[in-house]
């Protein structure tokens, strides 16, 4: 705030000083984010742009690329197996997101209501641990566990009189098994988010609802879930983006089979590019997958306007 006692030249010097400080702070800020921007540019934006460019060419890695125009995109819409892989991906992604959110919320509510502070820390760590394990290692290990003939799961089920469950050798079994494994590994992330969000629900609101006679279920559905809805939206978006890029588990455990039952969009992309050497077409598939993820994420945000409650 300026004072009438300070002369005009003095105010000008102070303004100049403030501008310099602001410039220095801005420069410092840019320097701080420069490295991150460099990484994002080199490893995210540049590959996306390169893929976009490549999608208009035919390229087998070995010969020089040739211009293909929109042919790769036109081919996509008439390529039955690749379209099917998108269908498989969407179905599995929906199952993963629904299960991951439901289970994560259920566990979070349970731990938040019942567990002590130590219990909360313990369960948070326990449920988060699978996420820290290498996906490839988990997939290999699960492949052994779920083997129809020699797997440990079927061994114990056999003791209960259930024999030969085709976990990975039937189309539906393989899809369900992979969904369960992904949910098992990812649910910890959702769980941790929900526990934190539930802990942040204001106690005065909870006390008020309790005084008004709301029971635990009503408090959950009418108070807690609306209050943590931004976190649910965030978890849903992240889970969906991850699920649409599903690759490791089906690739390692079933190689996309039986048949094409677990051939996801990213496996299709890999096979088209690295096995069939059609990198232009593979890039077109990647771009279409990116657009699909962007579109669905956009729809999620639009739909969320009506149900997400921001305090």
């Amino acid at each position: 705030m300026s004072s009438p006692a300070i002369s005009k030249p003095h105010r000008a010097v102070r303004r100049l000083g403030a501008r310099r400080t602001a410039r220095r702070e801005a420069a410092f800020g840019y320097a701080m984010i420069a490295l991150a921007m460099l990484f994002v540019t080199v490893f995210t934006f540049a590959p996306i742009l390169a893929s976009l460019g490549l999608s208009f060419f035919d390229w087998d890695v070995i010969s020089p690329p040739t211009w293909a125009g929109l042919a790769n995109y036109e081919r996509f819409f008439s390529d039955g197996p690749v379209l099917q892989s998108f269908g498989v991906t969407i179905c599995m992604a929906i199952a993963i997101v629904v299960l991951q959110l439901t289970l994560g919320l259920f566990l979070a509510v349970l731990v938040n209501q019942r567990a002590s502070r130590f219990g909360r820390t313990f369960f948070r760590t326990a449920f988060y641990l699978p996420l820290l394990a290498s996906t490839a290692a988990v997939a290999i290990f699960m492949g052994y566990l779920f083997d129809t003939k020699f797997g440990a799961i079927n061994y114990y089920l056999g003791l209960l009189g259930i024999s030969g469950v085709p976990w990975l050798s039937s189309p539906l079994g393989a899809q369900a098994t992979i969904v369960l494994i992904v949910v098992w590994q990812q649910v910890g992330f959702t769980f941790v988010l929900f526990v934190s969000a539930l802990m942040a629900v204001p106690t005065d609101v909870l006390e008020a609802s309790s005084i008004d006679g709301a029971g635990p279920l009503r408090t959950l559905f009418r108070i807690k879930i609306p209050l943590i809805s931004p976190t649910i939206l965030f978890a849903a978006v992240i889970a969906f983006i991850n699920a649409m890029q599903l690759f490791d588990q089906p690739f390692i455990m079933t190689k996309g089979g039986p048949g094409t039952a677990t051939t996801t969009a990213t496996i299709s992309m890999y096979q088209t590019g690295f096995q069939n050497l059609q990198f232009g077409y593979s890039s077109a598939i990647a771009i279409i997958l990116l657009l699909l993820i962007l579109a669905v994420t956009g729809i999620q945000f639009l739909a969320a306007r009506k149900v997400v409650f921001y305090q």
């Binding site: 070995i62 010969s63 190689k255 996309g256 048949g259 690295f274 096995q275």
Partner: protein, 472 residues
Amino acid sequence: MARDFGPVLGRRDLLRLGGYGLASAALVGMGASLTGCAPSAGGGGATSGTLTMLYFGDQKAATTLQNALQPKVKKIDKDLNLKITAINGTDWNDFLAKVLTLIAAGQAPDIVSVATEGLQLMAGKKLIMPLDDYVTKDMSTLKSGYFDDIHPALIEAMMVDGHLYNMPDSFNAGSMFFNNDVLQKAGAAAPATGWTIDDFHSTAEKISKVGGDILPFDWVVRLWGSWTSFLYANGGNLLEEGKYDGGDWLWGKAYDSGDASVAGRKGGWKWGAPTANSAASVEALQYVIDLQKAGFSPSPDVGGGGTLQGLFSSARIGMTIGGGFWAGGLHNAGMKDGSFDVQAFPTWKGNKSLFGTGGYSIFQSSQKKDAAWEVIKMMIEPESFDIMFPGNVTTPGRKSLMTAERYKTTGPKNWSVFYDQLDGSVPISAPSYYNALATSLNQRTTEAISSGNAKAALDAMQSDLEKVAKGN
């Protein structure tokens, strides 16, 4: 004048300088680490004196091999170095995909290990060069020192359109391994020479009666040694078999004129129209599906063979398809010599069996082709074989190396079938679109297994292959 803007180092300046310093250090560090990741000038093949080679395996083995070969390389030229880069993969299909990625990244080597799976693709795309001139130049020494010792089937499998693109030193033919402990428990006799598919089936029936978690047979979904072994024995193939003309320049000079094993050899295998849904094919695939339905085999893995090796070595599988690579593989898995043996694949409509071979090629882009040729000649010498492949992990292409002494510690006793089976065998059908073929084979085979309908899946495979073949 007041020193309001003098060189006093304030908190913000300190932070700013620190930030710049950190950012610079990170950039320098990143640059240094990326430089470290990239091949050095010497390793990229641009600097004189260093030959680069891609090797199928892990880097530890590659480095061991590099160190072991280095003294031999120095004998060729004291200024020459060999840098071997390993490429890990579950099978040759995987290896080939990664080699192509490296090529795309501009890291083409001078020498590359190539197996049957990748030969026609690499030759067709002119990535590797014909070795005809080098072979002709050194024919006098190669005839007695190499060709006389190598089965011509291996050489012919490495030819395309009359040209030789690769110097093979190893192979694996699809034979039938059996676990002696399991056979003993089942009261079944060891398969005898000339056994048939009926003998195989009756042995499987006997093993199935042992019970517990022991199964008669297992296999892996892949092109080599899969249900395709049954297909070959049934007189079929996934593609029409044919041969390129030419090759006289080699057969007439490299082998003696009266050599019966050279009769009918031409300029390499020419794979024709797809025949994936032929009667022989449907019958062969349906046969292995029915084995599984009957409880004679588990659901097979796709690619690799690690699980199968574990099951076989722990005596939970009675019989399976394997090649000479399993001698070392089973020994390393803890199986004692005598606890397993091998027999040629059983005869069905005929005794045609399959094999895959591997050797060394020179990249067309190499700037040191002469040196690469000299190193390849060194690598295919008999003395180099155990350096290249320590521990019986593949079958030597040289007959002179197929000795009782070699299999003394690892077994199997009936090791001679590995080489004998090459007579009348055909290489795996690996055209220039091998990768697409392998992908379709894997998908359609697992589809057939889960549906139980071989015909429908093979019709789909036929359609897949026709589409791909049309584009090639």
